[in-house]
C-alpha cells in the first residue's frame, strides 16, 4: 500500500507505536493527502457515530437492570419531547417535563446522594456501560454512612437536568452519569458529573467531571475509585467544582492503593 517512493512509508516501528494509543497515528500519506483506505475507515467511523446520536434510548430496560431489592428506580423525561427537539433546544433538556417534575416531587426525602443515569448524546453509552459503572460506584458507597435517593433514569437529558432532579429529591449531592457526545473512536463514552447542593441554575464551574468512562478509556473500577474520593472530599468540604481539585491520583497511589482492584 506504500509503493510510491515519493511517499512516506510507515516504519515497522509504527505498529508498536500504534499499540500505545487509539489515536490515528502512522497513517502514511500520498503526497499531502490521506491514503484512501484511511479516508474510507474514517468515513465509516463517522457514520457509526452519527447513528449513535440518533439511537433510541431503552430507558425501561436500563431501569429494570438497575433495580434491586431495597433499591428503587424512577424513570423521568426532560421537557425535550424528541431527539430533534433535544438537539436544537438544550434548554429543554435541562428541565424536567411537567409530569416528571410532579412525580419526582412526590419522592422527596432528605438523602446524601442522588444517582442519575441519563442518555445525553449517546444512548449507546448507557446501553453498553451504565450497569457496570453503577455497580462499581455503589460497591464503594454501600456500607458507608451515605444515604442514597432512588436511582433516576432520565431521557433526552442534559447534564444540568441532574440539578433539578437532585433538588426535587432533596439530595445534598447529585452524581450524573450521562452519555457523552460520540467520538469517532468512541461512540459509547460515559461522563460523570458531581454537583454539591444541586438546584436549578448551578454554574458549570461548580461541578467536577470525569469523562471518557468506558472499557477502552477510563475503566469502571478506576472511575468509581476516583468518584468515591471526590464524593468524600465534596462532603467533607461541602463543595464541588474548581475549588475541589481531583487529587485522587496521588491518594490512590499511596494510602488508597488498596482500594484499586488488581489489573
Amino acid at each position: 500500500m506504500n509503493d510510491n517512493p515519493e511517499d512516506r512509508t510507515p516504519l515497522t516501528n509504527w505498529s508498536r507505536l500504534r499499540a500505545l494509543t487509539p489515536a490515528r497515528i502512522g497513517l502514511g500519506h500520498r503526497g499531502a493527502s490521506m491514503p484512501v483506505d484511511e479516508v474510507l475507515r474514517f468515513g465509516l467511523a463517522h457514520a457509526k457515530a452519527r447513528d449513535a446520536v440518533h439511537e433510541p434510548f431503552r430507558a425501561g430496560e436500563i431501569a429494570a437492570a438497575l433495580a434491586a431489592p431495597g433499591r428503587q428506580v424512577i424513570e423521568v423525561a426532560s421537557a425535550a419531547g424528541d431527539r430533534a427537539t433535544y438537539l436544537r433546544r438544550p434548554d429543554l433538556g435541562r428541565m424536567l417535563s411537567q409530569k416528571s417534575r410532579a412525580m419526582l416531587a412526590s419522592h422527596s426525602r432528605r438523602s446524601d446522594l442522588a444517582l442519575v443515569v441519563a442518555d445525553g448524546l449517546s444512548a449507546t453509552a448507557i446501553h453498553n456501560n451504565a450497569l457496570p459503572l453503577v455497580t462499581a460506584v455503589l460497591a464503594h458507597i454501600e456500607g458507608r454512612a451515605i444515604s442514597c435517593a432512588p436511582i433516576v433514569v432520565a431521557s433526552q437529558a442534559r447534564v444540568a437536568l441532574g440539578d433539578e432532579i437532585g433538588h426535587l429529591l432533596g439530595a445534598r449531592m447529585v452524581l450524573m452519569l450521562i452519555g457523552e457526545r460520540p467520538g469517532l473512536s468512541s461512540p459509547d463514552s460515559l461522563g460523570a458529573y458531581l454537583t454539591f447542593a444541586p438546584r436549578p441554575g448551578v454554574s458549570d464551574a461548580a461541578r467536577n467531571c470525569l469523562s471518557n468512562i468506558r472499557p477502552a478509556g477510563l475503566s469502571f473500577e478506576v472511575a468509581a475509585a476516583k468518584l468515591d474520593w471526590l464524593i468524600d472530599e465534596a462532603f467533607r468540604r461541602s463543595l464541588t467544582g474548581i475549588d475541589l481539585k481531583d487529587d485522587s491520583d496521588a491518594l490512590l497511589l499511596t494510602k488508597g492503593a488498596a482500594r484499586l482492584p488488581n489489573p
Binding site: 512516506r8 500505545l20 487509539p22 489515536a23 497515528i25 490521506m34 438544550p90 481539585k245
Partner: protein, 462 residues
Amino acid sequence: MAYRARIGSETYVFADLKSLMARATPLRSGDALAGIAAGSLEEMMAARLALADLPLSTFLSEAVIPYEHDDVTRLIIDAHDKDAFAPVASLTVGGFRDFLCSNRATTESLARLSPGITPEMAAAVSKLMRNQDLILVASKCRSVTRFRTTIGQPGTLAVRLQPNHPTDDPAGIMASIIDGLGYGCGDAVIGINPASDSLTTISDLLHLLDGVITRFSIPTQGCVLTHVTSTIRLIEQGAPVDLVFQSIAGTQAANASFGVTLGLLREGLDAGRSLKRGTVGDHVMYFETGQGSALSANAHHGVDQQTLEARAYAVARAYQPFLVNTVVGFIGPEYLYDGKQIIRAGLEDHFCGKLMGLPMGCDICYTNHAEADSDDMDTLLTLLGAAGVNFIMGVPGADDIMLNYQSTSFHDQLYIRALLGLRRAPEFEAWLQRLDIVDATGALRAGGTSPPLLQAMGDYLP
C-alpha cells in the same frame, strides 16, 4: 433608544442596539435558541439597512451590556484608544465596511486602527460583510507574536500539535507527538487537553512536554490546557509552564461560569511571565473561545452570540496573548447547526479577532451531532488559509480521541501548505530542516519519521 428601517410600506423597529445587532446577524441556531434572531429574512435585511446607517461612534456611547453590570464592558470602554479610532470616527458602519475593503485599508493602517476598534464595531461591520469581504480584509491584517517561535508572519501558517489521549497515558501522548512532529506540526504549540484535572497528572504532562522539547532542542512551546488556577498553582510548585491557558467568554457572568475573572487572568499572565521561559518573546497567554459559550452559561444578556464572541477578544487583547483560538464547531448544533453556519462563524471570528489585532487561529472542527462533515472542514480550512489564519490544529487523523470531536489532521496542514505555499514558523522550520524532516522548500522528505525521534520513543515503549 430604538432603531428603524422602512422597506416599502413596512416599518421595522428594533428596540435597542443589541436587538438591532441580533436581527442583522446571518441566521444561526444559537440566536434562534436565545429567541433573538430575525423573524424573517426581510427583517434581517431591514436590520442590516439600519445598521449600515448607524454612526460607528454609537458604540462608544451605547453599550450592549450596561457598563455598571459587566466588567467586560468596562474593559472595552476604559481601554478604548480614541486617537487610533480618529481616522474612522466619522464613518457609519456601512461606510466602515467600504473603507475596510478599499485600498486605503492597508496592513499598516489597519494595525494602527486596531486599538480603536471595539468588539461591537467589529461585530457590527462583519454583519454587513459577505464571506469574501471577511476573507479579504482579514488577509490584510497582521498579528505577529513570539515565545520560542514567531507566529503570524506573512506567508506562514503554524500548527498546534494536539496529542490528546483519553487517559493521559504518557506513552500514548508521546506516540502522537512523534507522529505529528514527523509531519512538521507543532510550531504554534504542543498542547495537550488533559482528561484529568488532577494537579499531579497535569504536572507529569508538563514535564513530559518539557522533556521532549529540551531533549531535541525543539524551538516551540508546550501547554497543558487546564484551568488558570491550576496552572498558577503548578507554577508556584515549580512546574515547567510555557503557555498559560484559559477559556474565556464575552461577558462577566460567562467568565464567572468558567471560574475566571479579569484579575485572575492578570495573575495568570504575571505568573507565566515570571518564569521567563520564552526565547524570542514573552507572549505567554493561550486563550480559547467559541460562539455560544455565553448562551450556554445562561449569561448572554440578550446579545447575539457573534457579538459576544468578539467581546471575548477584547478580554484576550488585554493580556497580549500568544495564541487566540476560536474553537468554532465544538459547541454543537444548538449554536451552529450545520456546515454553512460553522463556516460563516469561523470566518467572522477570524476577521473580528484580526481586526482587533489578535493572533487568531481556528480549531476548524465539528461534532458528530452537527450536520457537518469533512467536506465542510475542507472548505473552511481553504477559506481561512486564504484569509491568513495564524494557526490551525493538527490532530492525528482529525479524530480527537479524548474530546470526541473532529478537527484538522496532520495531513490537512500539508494540504493547505501545498495549495497555498504556506511555510512554518521560521525557527521551527529551521529545526525541521536540521533533523532532515523537511527539505529546503519545507516539503516532507521521503523515508519516514526522523530516526532520532523514533528512537526517543524507545524510552516509552513497554
